[in-house]
């Protein structure tokens, strides 16, 4: 029994290849491979027709155009049925005027949610918690966020993480605490004595010391 439970709990880690799936969604059957070449935000919610989830879906729909500009597709998931997802999306549009433009996985079998470690029995044995998986265009997991059932997600933080990941990939730098687009970025620390001596003399870097230097991109 314990062994069975252990095999059911899968927690993918950063840098892992995202687990494959072949899922029923509100936009038809979708496989992870269908998203090849795009970044994906795969997120789970506890249940359709619930208040916090409804505010989150509206908020995800609102940042959808910003994500599209960044080459990111959105994909929702819960263990509700396809009919429930369709009815809920229609209800959100009818009551708030916000159309849900992204697909939602109907994971009744929990196949996808278990593969991604979205069910946390300490929170709920039946529902998925609020997970966010940011998966890059090579289908590697780059960020995982978990929020409890009672706390709605912060969309600006999700956008900020996407910006930081895409910017650091493109420029080989890192981002300091509370970084936002346009702020100075961190230059990787040198790994030799000579490099450290040269680093502090760099005129265009703002250095606290050799290991902590920032520059404007």
């Amino acid at each position: 029994m314990e062994e069975n439970q252990a095999t059911q709990v899968s927690l993918p880690r950063l840098g892992d290849k995202a687990p494959d799936f072949d899922a029923v969604t509100t936009h038809g059957n979708l496989k992870l491979d269908d998203f090849k070449g795009s970044w994906i935000i795969l997120f789970s919610h506890p249940a359709d027709f619930t208040p916090v989830c409804t505010t989150e879906f509206i908020a995800f729909a609102e940042i959808f155009p910003d994500l599209q500009k960044r080459g990111v597709e959105l994909l929702g998931l819960s263990v509700d049925s396809l009919s429930s997802h369709i009815a809920w999306a229609r209800n959100v549009e009818e009551k708030t005027g916000v159309k849900i433009p992204f697909p939602i996985i109907a994971d009744l079998s929990k196949e996808v949610s278990l593969a991604y470690g979205m069910v946390h029995p300490g929170q709920s044995k039946t529902e998925t918690v609020r997970c966010v998986f940011i998966i890059d265009d090579k289908q590697v997991i780059r960020t995982i966020l978990y929020y409890p059932l009672s706390t709605g997600r912060n969309m600006q933080e999700i956008l900020r993480i996407v910006d930081a990941l895409q910017m650091t990939d493109a420029n080989g730098v890192a981002t300091p605490a509370n970084w936002n687009p346009g702020d100075k970025v961190i230059v990787p620390a040198p790994n030799t004595q000579e490099g450290a001596e040269e680093r502090v003399k760099q005129p265009d870097y703002e250095c606290v010391d050799w290991y902590l230097c920032k520059k404007q991109l």
Binding site: H27, D33, E73
Partner: protein
């Protein structure tokens, strides 16, 4: 299926994909997405379903509309 409804008829997205293949000949999924403005993941999923329904055929890594597919959008 995103491109074929339960009655076996193409949805609006399905029609766009079939028309793109009819008008442009042999196309990659990427080309269909570019021509139709439909998201690439939806095109890939729809093409998979339409190959299964024999509305489209896969020729190496590109897609071609079949006679059955042409009849459906006439």
């Amino acid at each position: 299926m995103p491109c074929i409804n339960p009655e076996g008829k193409p949805t609006e997205t399905g029609k766009k994909v079939l028309q793109a293949l009819r008008d442009n000949g042999l196309c990659s999924a990427e080309k269909v997405a570019e021509v139709t403005g439909v998201a690439l993941f939806r095109v890939r999923s729809g093409l998979r379903d339409m190959v299964e329904a024999e509305l489209v055929e896969l020729v190496e890594d590109k897609y071609n509309i079949t006679e059955k597919g042409i009849k459906l959008i006439e």
